[in-house]
Symmetry: D2
Subunit: 417 residues, 4 copies
């Protein structure tokens, strides 16, 4: 039975808790808790912005979201006996919003949010088309999400941690910092930036203090990207019943977890794109000795998704190719093809009366699927986005009678400078 | 009941048939057949290389595959009353290999093939890692595929047309040719090429002859890439029971179809990556007048996949990020991230005894899913590839006992210059 | 590749074919064909009434259906080396209506039928409520069925053989005849009868002639019921990709197959309840030596359904308990509970404008599920019937606005004496 | 957000709670709580025996289970404005074991139990073959159940309320009592009994006291059977995300709920057959005015199951027909056919080393499906039981190599007089 090993008090800030987590990756962040192979344990998880985004009808909080503070992670959890070269098995036994707290000011207390970041504070997948800040608030009823900002939509969320991973070794951390610095150096003034270098400001490093805190804060990697240790992979089907195998880079593996999502579409395309929440996660860990070399794993996680995701039988799919909106042909660019597929879906949903921002936020939050359809047919990659038609409470399939008109209501909160 | 409107004789070449199809896109290729809205009809489809790839244990035919001859398309089918601006509804009623011909020299006669093209003759998704030509032959038993070249694997195929679409307008064709020429011009000598310009050699243009043939052959677009008209989209779930909505660019819509696949993984990653076959497809067509403007569709197809795909409940997933094999950090490049995910899967399957080419061919042919998992977490895109574990007849999940050893047999045919 | 080992000519009667099948069970019916373990082969199958039911708008043919002629079975197929005590493995590789014959007078030529038998000629599950004869004709479009007699309904059929099994041993046949005669003897004049005794009239016994024909015809068991050899099990998910393990009772196993269905609901509740058709089936056979004792199998088949059934995500379910329509309480009677569940569904569908016969025929033909929900809660069994809501092209879920009205059209053909 | 309107303290008995529920059906049991249409609310639910069955290795508690005390129900919940003739909509928003109490002596605190009742104290589906008492304890890890008494098995539970329903009208209650008394009168001394008459002993009737308590206790119906008000329907897919429509027989509808199950197979075949637990359920209610007549509903519930049940793609199915173990032919008896199917499955699982009781308990607790396959093929009904093969951690499909041997461990606790 899961013992609560990492508690959080919803009334206190992330840094004022009995056990303090972290928001950077570094091998020298001390384990917060030590567990044994085979242990099951419960972990509380703070929403990634530690409460900075509120349940309201303004998007000012998204516009000024404190990006240097993310992600609030629970851990590290050291696993006895885990050694570099092993594979760490992590089972997600259960996951959900903050238990027994169905209302309150903290995301996860019965509600969550999805945001579109402004270009000058984060940006996102379609930031050229959506340069301002927007927000939608979602209410939870069991596993179902609805939003007062987006009428006509409800869906079964697939709760999952957006971010989970093991600590990097010193060498791996150096590799990260070097390669990302090299990328940044190609266009250091870009807005939004190409990557995020170490940032001592707002670093939370567990129990570290003093000079050691300063050293680690200066070196520690940001948590935004997924990397060899797993990290911010945002795999929407990584829900209860899932098993993951992580490479181990340091003694004890030092597992951390955060960024819980109530639901997300493949890609988390609005950046702050899932329905963000705090909550709990129940884990079980085990170790495969020397699993990395035995299974040919060097730098990636392997997943077995659970079998409880919602079943949908009807999907509406939109394709895109790697031609820019300006008509420029790019070579086998699936990132671009997926952008175009999503824009086609947004065009389509707008024909029913939704604003383009509403449509974009639906794609970020609902359990859509984003697929690589063709990656070899030069020069065009083909990507597709699949939307379950059950998400909508009106007929959403093309017909001879044309689209019905949905009342979009007052729309989604908007903020710009 | 479907009337056979486009017959093919398996003993004759594509150009010697009673009705000759085409292998280029051009608005002036005359309709081969005219149908009415609501009509159901059967179409025979030749495998994309018109029999050049044989059921044997040499990959020489793949090494020298005649790329200028593809794709053998059936059509165009003019739909009475369809006008530019309409949406053409196409239902796939049924699809399968060549009926009643369960053996013979033509792919689709009870067998099909998957190939890896050599870098100097086509290339492919992982051509840098796999520069030579390889081939696997698959035998069909009902909807199940197995290969003498890849032991231990069998799966239910999702038969689908890799390529279907409407004819471009003259303006759209010009756009294609201009933008692709511009891309080619950035590196005209590249091997493999960035894109394929019009190629009169081997052009098949239906009933066109003489000067009109020459004019059209010089202008007509190649069929390799998917474009605004649908085309070579390679959407693996586009099987029986599916409905698609195509934009109409010319009077009659002029629908064509080809490149049938017995099965394919998302992405068709080995280029000649599906299990290629000839066969039949039963279609029903209808028209939504002015559907393009009413539904906000300008340049893409919309799909409703059928509900008969095989159900799998357990998937093994591998992730990848946009860091090159050489360790260079790229910015949110999902194409690269998916390559890395596939390479991780190949590394993993190799630990069971498969050659890397066998593993690569499995990913191309089996009903794997390729997903955009994170497309916003700078600087790393995260892509995932999901393999149904039922595909393998041995336990394929990591465990403490390590991988079992599969006898890879003599392996896949290989050819190189 | 499947070789056609049991051909049928659609223009000839079942008894005039090159190889004549059978319509009774007996160990001494000679094998029509001998195959080897591992063989794949194609079998043509005649619709169960050999063409007596026509594609028309009268139910007179159902009223007078020649029950003594059924079921037209293909086989027996002897499997070399199979011995009593073995388990016979049968894989269904593929199945479908009569290939390449999409129109014609024989069910399976692009169409099929569902009937409600009259009480005095067969009866059925709800014969007390539906004493007359009714018929619905269904048209096939690929795997989809629609009926001109039942508007507003279409569904993906799960094609399957209603009847397949091995030959009984002489002892097993005697057991059948004895126990069924004992049942009949309890009420020999009942209409409809309790069971069907051997009936020499209309017996078809393969190549048997003369005295041997007469002897076997007098002893052979009717094919209506499922028994220890499999037989008329009417398992609606027994479609392509399925594997079944049959007990072997005679040398060679002597497998036979018939009664193909385009689609059926669990229970085949209208008796002639599936969508009946002729067609083809591709099989592969193998043998597990001594499988019966090793796996504890004595008198039943074991099934592995295929994974290609249509996926439905929304079901409307009706429950029933074991109380008669007259209000009498019965003890844990699941048969009655399922009748009441089906009647509740019929009541419900009637509120949309369907006639009760239309509703009944939908339940027989569409891929509904019939479930044992509670079988222990004395005194009431609870049974449930699940209808996929996608079957209907109108909203079928209860709502505050009440049921929409469906135009039932002219309804289903009806005949009575 | 769900407000807790019916709290239970795990340390106190069911009758000592702040709000006392009930364990009988009667229109005059006063509502415990009144809610409004559209309200969402949380309800705690006690396990059906109020803690009489303990987490131990003896089955003595099952042998002497206090049957007169069941089922501990939460409610009644009056819904403002609901009137006889309406349909009550109930949505199950969420459900699970006792939250935040993962260990303790009460079923639902991280564990649950499945029992086989002895013939002289309850009996069950296969009581003739299993006359003694047996028990299995199951541990919960998230949504997964495993048992120390049944090695080699684990599965994803589909948590659901076994029992939910509206209060009967006085007339309906009289009907129940009359028809069940008539059945009992046919064999009043039968063991186990045919039905359960009103039983004042151990009746719990909410806030009723004194003479009113005595009157109602003498009339109130037992909760064992499902009836026109829903009740103990034991529908295993009735989990989170489900919607049910109940007929309303009294003002306020007076909804009650109980008998939570962590998992159950179709049929709940061991009587105490689900994995029994206490826990919580979150509900939302609404009303369709005059829904009964508008939708043709008079005496049954209508269900829309949720879309989150675990997905299984491979099932092992066993069939049974309506012939008794003694060889007697019965007429179209699906209850018997399902018993025979289950016995075939037990025979089969025993060949792997399980005791027959272990096999029986697996069928009761795991998410098996029980289907009506043929209900018309005189004289044999055909029933099938489908077991997901993923339930077992060993290969469970018949093969030439014969069954592997599973170590059954010490087996399931057993008790007999």
């Amino acid at each position: 039975m899961p013992e609560l090993v990492f508690p959080l008090d919803s009334t206190k800030r992330f840094t004022d808790q009995a056990i303090v987590g972290h928001n950077r990756w570094h091998p020298d962040i001390p384990p917060a808790v030590t567990v044994k192979p085979g242990d099951e344990f419960r972990v509380h998880v703070r929403e990634w912005f530690d409460g900075a985004i509120v349940n309201g009808d303004s998007a000012a909080d998204i516009l000024d979201a404190p990006l240097s503070t993310v992600h609030c992670l629970s851990g590290p959890f050291a696993v006895e006996g885990a050694r570099p070269g092993d594979l760490l098995i992590v089972d997600i036994l259960d996951i959900g919003p903050i238990p027994q707290e169905d209302s309150g000011p903290l995301a996860g207390q019965g509600w969550g949010y999805t945001g579109i970041f402004a270009t000058d504070n984060g940006g996102g997948f379609l930031t050229e088309q959506f340069p301002d800040a927007y927000k939608a608030i979602w209410d939870f009823s069991g596993h179902t999400a609805t939003s007062r900002h987006i009428p006509g939509v409800s869906f079964t969320g697939i709760q999952h941690p957006g971010l989970m991973g093991t600590a990097p070794s010193p060498g791996l951390l150096s590799t990260w910092n070097a390669r990302e610095a090299a990328l940044i150096a190609t266009d250091p003034e870009r807005v939004p930036p190409l990557a995020l270098p170490p940032e001592p400001r707002d670093a939370v490093l567990g129990s570290l203090t003093g000079a050691e805190y300063d050293r680690v804060a200066a070196e520690a990697a940001r948590t935004a990207p997924p990397r060899e240790n797993g990290g911010n992979q945002d795999i929407k089907n990584f829900t209860r019943g899932s098993r993951v195998f992580y490479p181990v880079f340091v003694d004890g593996a030092n597992l951390s977890v955060g960024d819980l999502h109530f639901s997300q579409g493949d890609g988390e395309i609005t950046f702050c794109g899932a329905i963000e929440m705090g909550g709990y996660i129940d884990l079980r860990v085990d170790v495969i000795k020397d699993g990395m070399s035995r299974y040919g794993v060097t730098e990636n996680a392997i997943f077995l998704p659970g079998n409880e995701g919602p079943v949908y039988s009807q999907w509406l799919a939109f394709s895109g190719t790697s031609v820019t909106l300006d008509g420029e042909q790019r070579y086998l660019d699936s990132q671009l093809a997926f952008q175009r597929a999503c824009l086609h879906a947004i065009d389509y949903l707008s024909s029913f009366g939704y604003s383009r921002e509403q449509a974009y936020l639906i794609l970020g939050a609902a359990p859509i699927e984003g697929r690589f359809s063709g990656v070899v047919d030069i020069p065009n990659a083909c990507a597709t986005v699949y939307i379950p038609t059950e998400v909508f409470d009106f007929p959403v399939i093309p017909s001879a009678s044309g689209p019905v008109t949905v009342d979009p209501g007052p729309g989604v909160p908007h903020a710009a400078r």
